[in-house]
């Protein structure tokens, strides 16, 4: 069953089309990653799923029913910009958010989560006393404390140190294993690659990628050669059959043209310098993102 089903969704603000004819299915129990450059329509899409923005056209179904207000009680939403009452105490704030969503007392759950995310000592302090990372964790608890079936996280890892990022990631995976469906938007491609069952990319309001990481990568084929050579970048000038060379310092990445032979390219490199290591692989999500939304794509569009 699809927990979220979007059909031909369009939303405009004045003359700007934020989301154009978007269709998407989020299966139950999956982790769905939303990626895309800033201002591409991710947050607008999430707000439409939350019934905060109404689409100009198209249909939204949540839990198999047309979206209405009652669905909100089953969805946990962490907006991109965090909003906490600064003057409230942490525990009271979480009780408020939890009770608002679930309609029942959530005192025990609040205490459990505070304990779990190492915030028990801060339970009776005001939010304004918390560091940015702690506020982020409090906001995350507020999102999940009422045990929602669908969890929507807009940039959940920004501002977190590696330890807290791991802690939140573990909780997200645990909630998924308990049956929750997770949608999250992120700019961190490696997180998306590691965590998401499905990846959806939106660019200028249009859907440009949708599917599993493997299926997305398959579209591009094994067109990436990663090399380490003694001469480094200097040995890779003016190679034939190469679309682009990216220099990472100790390692270079070559994007091979579709009809070129990898063997010939390697032989040419070896004739110029000593090859230390090589790997033929599919492009990373990061690379795919750049190909779609980077300066290269802009140039291609302008041409």
């Amino acid at each position: 069953m699809n927990v979220v089903q979007l059909e031909h969704l369009t939303k405009t603000f004045g003359s700007v089309t934020a989301v154009n004819d978007l269709s998407l299915n989020v299966p139950q129990g999956s982790i769905y990653g939303f990626i895309g450059p800033n201002g591409s329509g991710k947050t607008t899409t999430l707000r439409m799923i939350m019934n905060i923005f109404y689409p100009d056209s198209g249909k939204i179904e949540i839990f198999g029913r047309e979206l209405d207000e009652s669905a909100k009680d089953r969805i946990g939403y962490l907006p991109e910009e965090r909003g906490l009452y600064q003057k409230m105490k942490v525990r009271e704030l979480l009780q408020f958010y939890g009770e608002l969503k679930s309609g029942r007392k959530v005192d025990n759950q609040v205490d459990d989560w505070l304990e779990r995310l190492d915030l028990s000592d801060w339970a009776h302090r005001k939010v304004e006393a918390l560091s940015k990372g702690m506020s982020q964790k409090v906001q995350f608890i507020a999102t999940i404390v009422a045990k929602p079936e669908l969890i929507i996280l807009d940039e959940p890892f920004t501002g977190l140190d590696p330890v807290n990022t791991e802690a939140i990631k573990d909780v997200v995976l645990e909630l998924r294993s308990q049956g929750a469906t997770i949608i999250f938007s992120t700019h961190d491609m490696s997180v998306a690659e590691r965590m998401c069952d499905y990846i959806f990319m939106i660019f200028r309001g249009e859907k440009v990628l949708d599917g599993t990481l493997a299926s997305i990568q398959d579209k591009y084929g094994s067109d990436t050669l990663r090399l380490r050579t003694e001469a480094g970048m200097t040995a890779l000038q003016d190679l034939e059959g190469i679309e682009k060379v990216t220099d990472y310092g100790r390692m270079q990445e070559l994007r091979v043209q579709p009809d070129s032979d990898h063997q010939k390219i390697l032989a040419e490199v070896m004739s110029r310098t000593r090859l230390l290591s090589f790997e033929l692989s599919k492009p990373t999500l990061h690379d795919i993102f750049i190909r779609i939304a980077g300066p290269e794509a802009k140039e291609a569009n302008h041409a």
């Binding site: 939350m50 905060i52 923005f53 207000e69 909100k72 907006p79 909003g83 906490l84 608002l100 507020a142």
Partner: protein, 437 residues
């Protein structure tokens, strides 16, 4: 409804549990009754330094009388008999012959003495004060001082001189001093309410009507309502702006409808006002009963007070919350605060004309204009003269309808504006959002 109540509960608790609320609860009546309290507390603070006054008596008939009266007063009132302390200034009267050749130069010289602090004032009495009808120009009495208009000595002089002049006039036509006393007797007219029939069917004499009842009760209820609106509705503008600015609004909208959010906030503000109003009303009743002034408690007005309070907070609260949602930052909120407060302040400016003539068509019409109804109608009902019973009811219905309109329009503006960034809160935008939703 559950969510509205939960938001309201949070609003209420965060407002009421602050020190600010307790301080405001104490400070408000202090500020309201501040000037009256100050007058009461500092009533004993009189300048007891002697006041030297020069009298230029062109008539030759008044100066001596003033001197005698001043001496009698100094004897009787300046020193407190029990404590032996000086409680009032003595009036030292100095008689000076007027300079008839150059009266202006003489007045300047005396004025300079006042400027130097040697004198408090000087009094010039015209030659024909006994029979002013003959020539008003020469019958003038003038009091020259730095603060002549509000100088209490001028009032004392007025009474003393006129009392004497009347006696002289009576004596001139042959009236004996004893008869003169009776002729000059002054009787006050007693202000009374209306005669009524009590529960036992007996005719009850009218109560003595006092200024406290005529002005005090309406004024207290009027200002209390004003303060409660300021406490319960006004903070919405700032508070919603902050929630929008700090992105709390979006988090909450992930759990409830914009309308529920707004309604919860308004309801919370209402609960805060009702708490404070109940404290004041209960405290007032308790105090008046303890002071034996139970007759002044307007029990029949209190339900009207609460009804208008509830509706005023709903009406103004929804409008202010919606306006708060249109603000992007504190500066926007600051710019909107003044225009938003106008409907609450206009009744303040209309206070005196409405209080003096509560039954006039001017007062009636204004009090039936819904934004002004709660404050002005309450003022008119509580005035002793009373108003026809249909008027508060019609006013009440008008306010209910207007409050519903405010909730509807406010809710629409709130929904559109609460997540909108960078759009200035212009009237045209606000009206468009209210109409189109």
């Amino acid at each position: 409804m559950r969510k509205i109540l939960r938001v309201a509960k949070r609003e209420y608790r965060t407002s009421v549990r602050t020190k600010g609320f307790i301080i405001a609860l104490i400070l408000m009546p202090v500020m309201m009754g501040g000037s009256a309290l100050a007058m009461f507390l500092f009533r004993g603070q009189v300048d007891t330094r002697d006041k030297k006054i020069v009298v230029l008596d062109h008539s030759g008939q008044v100066a001596d009388v003033i001197m005698q009266a001043a001496e009698a007063r100094n004897e009787a009132e300046v020193i407190d008999k029990e404590t032996g302390k000086k409680v009032k200034p003595a009036y030292i009267i100095e008689r000076v012959e007027p300079d008839v050749d150059d009266p202006l130069a003489h007045r300047l010289a005396l004025s300079d003495r006042i400027r130097r602090g040697e004198l408090h004032a000087f009094l010039e009495i015209g030659p024909n004060v006994v029979h002013p009808e003959k020539d008003w120009e020469t019958a003038k009495i003038a009091y020259y001082a730095k603060n002549a208009a509000i100088d209490t000595i001028r009032g004392w002089m007025n009474g003393t001189i006129n009392n004497h002049l009347r006696r002289v006039r009576l004596s001139d036509v042959g009236v004996q001093p004893q008869q003169a006393n009776e002729i000059l007797t002054w009787l006050e007219i007693a202000p009374l309410g209306l005669v009524s029939v009590d529960e036992a069917g007996q005719i009850k004499e009218a109560q003595r009507s006092s200024e406290a009842e005529a002005v005090g009760v309406p004024l207290i209820l009027f200002f209390l309502l004003f303060m409660m609106i300021m406490m319960g509705a006004m903070p919405q503008l700032q508070s919603v702006m902050e929630e929008k600015n700090q992105r709390i609004a979006e988090v909450l909208l992930g759990s409830l409808k914009p309308f529920e959010f707004m309604a919860g906030k308004v309801l919370g503000g209402l609960a805060v006002s009702l708490t404070a109003a109940s404290v004041y009303v209960a405290g007032g009743i308790f105090l008046l009963r303890r002071l034996g002034l139970a007759a002044f408690i307007p029990y029949q007005i209190i339900p009207w007070f609460f009804a208008f309070l509830v509706l005023a907070i709903i009406m103004f609260g929804s409008i202010l919350a919606a306006l708060g949602a249109t603000c992007n930052d504190a500066k926007d909120a600051q710019n909107l605060t003044f225009p938003a407060m106008i409907p609450v302040f206009i009744p303040m400016f209309l206070l005196m004309p409405v209080l003096q003539e509560p039954a006039s068509s001017f007062a009636t019409a204004l009090s039936l204009f819904p934004p002004f109804t709660p404050m002005l109608m309450l003022l008119r009902i509580s005035a002793p003269a009373g108003i026809p019973l249909w008027q508060p009811w019609v006013g009440l219905i008008g306010v209910i309808l207007f409050a519903l309109l405010s909730i509807w329009a406010g809710g629409r503006v709130f929904r559109v504006a609460i997540l909108m960034q960078g759009m200035p809160p212009k009237l045209s935008n606000i009206l468009r959002w209210a109409v189109r939703g």
